[in-house]
């Protein structure tokens, strides 16, 4: 069975549910081999084996962090040329878009981004993408491979399939091309202590209808009660009622949680594009014509300022 290369861009990523979903998807196409950027932390290697990584290629060099996507892409390209894998899989992140683009150019391969499903086909992997703001599903197959696929978080549910992983260190040479771009400083974004937005199973999100930073604080209280991540629309982050990191939609994060609870969100197409894949949607909006009510499993025509504080109280009462 052919190998399927799976990029894990850091040891911390090795224990993320998106990585486990990626490995689960890779098993459908062949034998998953992880390309781990960073030290071969035994915990990380063990976690990867738990989800079926029979091989872990370790690319450990401080220069990879300093020189970014080109250097990482070159590691993948060298391995892909040596191993002729059935596919190269990456999580849909900003870094991976750069890496995927470079790998596809160097290998002359088809690239399919933001997949919501992958499965084996008669000619190779079949990839499903959700397009036109989530209104259409498109199936594609690569004519020239190995196909480079980026997979959306939560697209494939992680299923364990333990194997003992074999670790192989690969040589890292940062070439001239990679050295033209250098990271001179890195400021980690403040952690909210909440689940990662892209991977959370519950997301509580607020839109323009929350009215103010105080109105948004109730969204955060409800999120904490539900152990959820917090999301927002672009107007809310533009008004700085919350951090830009919370933005969901075309130019923000794409989420597909089990539950998406939206308040004060009308559901403009740019926002729907980022949350349409949610399994269950609950929406609260003053305007009975708000498009989000048409896609909600439960819609409430009501005022955020009235309904949400009451909902917080009600949930506090029930969960005490």
């Amino acid at each position: 069975m052919s190998e399927v290369l799976v990029l894990v861009p850091g040891a911390a990523d090795a224990v993320r549910s998106s990585t486990f979903g990626l490995l689960t998807a890779a098993r459908r196409l062949g034998e998953p081999s992880v390309v781990l950027v960073g030290p071969d932390d035994p915990e990380a290697v063990r976690a990867l084996g738990e989800y079926g990584a029979a091989k872990v290629y370790v690319a450990d060099s401080p220069e990879l962090a300093e020189y970014g996507s080109v250097a990482t892409a070159e590691v993948l390209v060298d391995l892909a040329r040596r191993l002729a894998p059935a596919a190269v899989l990456l999580a849909s992140t900003r870094l991976s878009k750069d890496v995927a683009g470079i790998v596809a150019v160097r290998l002359g391969s088809g690239v399919l981004t933001d997949a919501v499903d992958v499965r084996p086909g008669s000619r190779g992997p079949v990839v499903t993408q959700s397009v036109f703001a989530g209104t259409h599903l498109v199936d594609s197959e690569a004519v020239r491979g190995p196909v480079v696929i980026t997979l959306r978080p939560n697209a494939v549910d992680p299923e364990p399939a333990p194997v003992p992983p074999a670790v192989e260190r690969v040589e890292v040479t940062v070439g001239e091309a990679a050295r033209r771009v250098r990271v001179v400083s890195r400021t980690a974004k403040a952690s909210s202590g909440r689940p990662d937005l892209s991977e959370a199973s519950v997301v509580v999100a607020g839109g323009r209808g929350v009215g103010s930073a105080e109105g948004f604080a109730v969204v955060e209280r409800l999120a904490d009660l539900l152990g959820a991540a917090v999301g927002a629309t672009r107007p809310v982050t533009d008004e700085k009622w919350c951090s830009h990191e919370y933005q969901i939609g075309q130019t923000g994060r794409t989420v597909a949680p089990q539950l998406y609870l939206a308040t004060g969100i009308s559901g403009a197409i740019q926002h729907r594009a980022g949350m349409q894949g949610s399994r269950t949607i609950v929406a609260i909006n003053k305007d009975p014509k708000a498009p989000i009510l048409a896609i909600a499993d439960l819609g409430v025509v009501g005022d955020h300022h009235v309904v949400l504080p009451r909902l917080v109280e009600e949930i506090e009462r029930r969960t005490q």
Binding site: A100, S140, V183
Partner: protein, 261 residues
């Protein structure tokens, strides 16, 4: 200094999009516009020059005849000239082929700094900037939320907005920089600027002008084929209730029934 901004003419986001018979996006029958995300790149180029950078701004687009409207919109925001690569053989090109056309056009045009948006609002792949940079052996910085150019040092310094961290990145010119919607609001051109833009030069190139053979691009050269395009299953119509004081209780009941409480 030569700045080239890559811009795309895309279907209007609010229009009813559909697929043509060959499973490409129907671009002929749908109203189009300059991609909103590329407007941020146009804005950054114009601001660099307004900030005192001695540079000439050229806009480059690849697309059907109507794509020239996108160039005119960009020129109304500022800048000097437009280049339109238009050739029927390009229809149906995938990201790899599109990046080839852009790279060859950039080679012919000459450039020090290439700016573009973080994604197109139609395909939304965000891979073309990396592909173009790699083909041209230029430095790549994507998802830039701010940038400054140092022409003496021949560098561009970028604030790169990643998922977990914000990086300060220094890239040697020539470089390709893709900017995010956080870089700054795009301006609305005034009527006089729109009229003035009509007089700015726009050059049209064909594939022959770029030394690209028609069999290197288009649907037939695509590295991936679409086998099926269907409407997503409609979400099951849910319950909509009007708050009469008990909506919070009903939402809590719903969450309990579904196992979220």
């Amino acid at each position: 200094m030569r700045i080239v901004v890559l811009v795309k003419y895309v279907p209007e986001p609010t229009a009813q999009w559909r697929f043509a018979d060959d499973l490409t996006v129907d671009r002929a029958g749908i109203e189009g516009r300059l991609s909103e995300l590329d407007e941020h790149a146009v804005e950054q180029a114009v601001r660099l020059v307004e900030g005192g950078l001695d540079a000439e701004i050229t806009y480059l687009t690849v697309g059907p005849v109507r794509a020239a409207e996108g160039l005119r919109k960009a020129l109304a925001m500022g800048g000097d000239a437009g280049v339109h690569v238009e050739d029927p053989a390009i229809h149906g090109s995938d990201a790899l082929a599109t990046s080839l056309v852009l790279a060859e056009a950039l080679r012919r045009q000459g450039f020090d700094l290439v700016l573009t948006g973080m994604a197109s609002t139609d395909a939304e792949m965000s891979v073309v900037p990396a592909m173009v940079a790699d083909r041209l052996d230029a430095a790549l910085v994507s998802f830039a939320s701010a940038l400054t150019v140092d022409p003496q040092a021949g560098t561009v310094t970028v604030q790169r907005d990643g998922e977990g961290a914000v990086d300060e990145v220094v890239a040697q010119l020539p470089a390709v920089v893709a900017v995010t919607d956080q870089a700054g609001e795009a301006r609305y051109p005034a009527f006089r600027a729109i009229m003035a833009a009509k007089k700015k030069p726009v050059t049209t190139w064909s594939l022959t002008d770029l030394g690209i053979s028609p069999d290197q691009v288009g649907l037939a050269a695509s590295c991936a084929v679409v086998t099926q395009a269907v409407p997503a299953p409609e979400r099951q119509a849910g319950t909509v209730l009007v708050d009469e004081g008990d909506a919070a209780v009903q939402v809590a009941d719903f969450l309990t029934t579904r196992g979220f409480l």
